[in-house]
């Protein structure tokens, strides 16, 4: 599903002393099927931006096009269409409430009046996508699980609606490295398998570099930079100005290039860890005979 923002602004608390401009005339287009990384400091407008995708917030001015649905300040999102956009909030485990894991995961699909058998199969599927064993976990209380497991159950609850667009607000915050990787890999897998359009809000340049094929850098309610990761990571100075960092792989490549002769420079497109390792190994194994 293609997503278009046309000069979207959002003002919180309009008409009170607490008025705050959170988004300023944002225009952007996210093609269907892309994996977008949204980066930016706290307070840069990331969360406000993604809440517009689901009609939870309406723009103060401007226009949003979600597939064939249009949202403006006066035109709200139809309830049934919310199903198309799965929004995983920060710390989604805080929204768990049911007695059992299976019941909680099926909350979403049941709200959209899907037949019961279908809900059950979807619940099973989505729990397995996030790496949990359906039979073992379905009857347990979500509150007895570990933090990482709770997070996965909550994400499964959104996946069970089978959205066409998946939006995740820092899904790995506060998890250990193994948990991070498991969740991101799971998300990446269904992104590819189901042809989702995925938006990942993150603080970590590494995460953005590993999965995203397009990056949005937000600052002060505006899009400061956007483009394929390779192009964005070339703007080292601008990123530093925004108190953001480039991934360590990018730093490594530029440091190595400094000491390599011009004709042997490593390409800047090597910002993904695996690709860089492969490339370096290949170079090392080529005998230098010239």
């Amino acid at each position: 599903m293609q997503i278009t923002f046309d000069k979207v602004s959002h003002i919180y608390g309009k008409g009170t002393p607490f008025e705050r401009l959170a988004l300023q005339e944002i225009s952007l287009t996210i093609p269907s099927g892309s994996f977008v990384g949204i980066i930016g400091q706290t307070g840069s407008g990331k969360s406000t931006l993604i809440q517009h995708l689901n009609g939870l917030l309406s723009p103060s001015s401007g226009r949003i096009q979600l597939g064939d649905v249009e949202i403006t300040s006066s035109k709200r999102m139809p309830h049934v269409r919310r199903r198309d956009i799965g929004l995983v909030f920060q710390y989604p485990e805080h929204q768990l409430f049911e007695e059992t894991v299976a019941k909680d995961v099926s909350f979403g699909p049941l709200n959209f009046d899907l037949p019961v058998e279908m809900v059950e199969s979807r619940t099973r599927e989505s729990l397995e996508v996030v790496g949990l064993d359906y039979e073992a976990i379905k009857d347990r209380s979500p509150f007895q699980l570990s933090g990482g497991q709770m997070r996965r159950v909550a994400i499964a609850g959104v996946l069970a609606m089978q959205p066409k667009v998946l939006v995740l607000d820092e899904p790995t915050a506060g998890l250990d490295p193994a948990g991070r990787k498991a969740i991101l890999e799971g998300i990446y897998r269904i992104h590819r398998e189901q042809g989702l359009t995925t938006l990942l809000v993150t603080h970590s340049m590494e995460e953005a570099a590993s999965y995203a094929d397009y990056l949005l850098v937000m600052a002060d309610g505006k899009v400061a930079l956007q483009g394929p990761p390779r192009e964005v990571f070339e703007q080292v100075d601008l990123l530093k100005q925004l108190s953001l960092d480039v991934p360590e792989t990018v730093t490594l490549v530029s440091r190595m290039n400094q000491s390599l002769p011009d004709n042997e420079h490593l390409p800047h497109s090597l910002y993904r860890e695996e690709e860089l390792i492969d490339h370096l190994l290949k170079r090392l194994s080529v005998p230098k005979e010239r």
Partner: protein, 265 residues
Amino acid sequence: MLQNIAIGQYVPGQSFLHRADPRSKLLFIILFATLVFLANNAITYAVLIAFTLITALLSRLSLSYILKSLKPVWILILFTVVLHIFITKGGTVYYQWGSFTIEEEGVRQAIFISLRLGLLILISSFLTLTTSPIDLTEGLERLLGPFGRVGVPVHEIALMMSIALRFIPTLMEETDKIIKAQTARGANFSSGSLLRRAKNLIPIAIPLFISAFRRAEELALAMEARGYRGGVGRTRLNKLAFSWRDSCVAVAGVVLLFVIGWWRS
């Protein structure tokens, strides 16, 4: 979504009203509330209204924002007006329709009672609008101080109050977030029968309770970790001190007391 509930919330500022001591503001409100109930004719009400307007100017807040604090009680005021107009009898009959009559006394009472309600709410909203919760509870703690000698846990009460006040916006934010998260999962809070709507609250209430308990536990731990052990021997970072502003408040109180006492019939 819930932003309009935060009406009456502290608005930081440097006006006369902001900088007056919370104790004098609290005492003044008690006096003012008494005077509002003593006022019983046009002149005394006019004096009180004029005084409230002056206070509004002194707070340097926008008038429309202040008036918004009346929003939650609008219905209550309207209800009182209607009730008094139709039920209180006496004096000239203005209008008659069958057994329904609108009489002089009813109109009079309706106006006065609604003014009373409005004035009380306005003047107390000035307190919360211009006093930070910390100052407010400290003011209370100091005012209630003498009761501590007879075994009232004044410090604990004040602490509970300030924690409660401190967490209102946090819990509000949390509620907003949970509502949004469940809405994103397709929960619909604004339609269906009453029973269904009540049921719809469960997905909000349970996460909210859980997070409130978690927060309380974390806060208690954090306070203990930083050496909190109750009010005994605890000192203050910012001591409250009376200034010329508080003398003004006191003078205004005394003047108001005499004016109302003199003119009331």
